[in-house]
Amino acid sequence: MNPPADPDLENRLRALTWRPVPEPALQASLDAALAELSSDATTSSKARPGLVPQAPVPLSPSSQTTVPIRQRLIQFVPRPVRWILAACWMLSLGFRLATPPSAPVQGSLSPAAIAALPPMDGSRLFLSMQQTRLQIDDLQRELQRR
């Protein structure tokens, strides 16, 4: 039950006079609101977070077709694995970008290696053969001495 009204006290309270509100305080609030209003007018395309939630914007036909497919692909991967997979993919991408190009194959029979050899004629070949034979003789003597 409500307590009874108290007209005497109400009258006493009504007789109290509030101090006038400082004019600068009122002016500052009005200026701020008007500045906000004019900034809204100049940037009307910018969606501001209001007190009332904005109505959902209908999706364009193209985004309606592309977004579900992308979402479906992402949803195909189990949720706990998604971040791990993404991290692995990022890591592999990093390695791929950071790895220098591979060195060319170096074999004695590669065309580049053959092209790099000095030109060979009969006298050079004979000289090389003699040197090889001398080396073989030296090695045989060495083996016999041991």
């Binding site: 109400e10 101090r19 008007l34 906000e36 209003l37």
Partner: protein
């Protein structure tokens, strides 16, 4: 449609001083009341859809936003300074009368008002000084009209109890 410049100025002229007094009665000092008042009107200006301006039934919406912002401010300041005692001080909120007895009475009333719980103090402030109906006070405090009425009545009852010694003293003095 956002509110027009004229609408904003009209609402400001009719309500800003009342909202400021209301904020002071909620326990905010002048600087804080100024900040919150500014916040309220900036919110109103940001109302891109214009629905809030339409929803302002009299001044109720503005007071409701102001009350919520003031409660937020009080909560934040409590978090900032846990040690600080948040005492509401309304002694300098009213114009002091020249008569010493009236001044003493006024100080007691201000102290009694300050001691009331926030919802009762708001109800008294909004009904007596801002002239709002209990239905509007209910909208502001987000309670039913009977609850708003009860808060007002209980506020007056507590105030009467707090002022009882002073009333007794005055009634003893008056026959002389």
């Amino acid at each position: 449609m956002p509110p027009t410049r004229e609408t904003l100025i009209r609402l400001h002229n009719s309500s800003a001083a009342g909202v400021f007094r209301f904020l002071r009665s909620m326990g905010l000092d002048e600087a804080a009341a100024q900040d919150v008042l500014q916040e309220v009107f900036v919110k109103l200006a940001r109302d891109v859809s214009g629905s809030l301006v339409e929803a302002v039934s009299g001044q109720a919406w503005l007071f409701r936003v102001a009350r919520n912002a003031a409660l937020d401010w009080l909560r934040r300041s409590r978090v900032r300074d846990r040690a600080a005692q948040q005492m509401v001080d309304l002694t300098d909120a009213f114009v002091l009368p020249e008569d010493p007895d009236a001044a003493a009475m006024q100080r007691e009333i201000a102290a009694g008002l300050a001691d009331l719980p926030e919802e009762q103090r708001s109800a008294v402030q909004l009904h007596l000084w801002e002239g709002l109906t209990f239905r509007e006070i209910g909208e502001i405090q987000q309670v039913s009209t009977p609850t708003a009425t009860s808060r007002y009545r209980y506020g007056l009852q507590s105030l009467r109890a707090a002022l009882q010694p002073l009333y007794s003293e005055l009634s003893h003095e008056s026959p002389r």
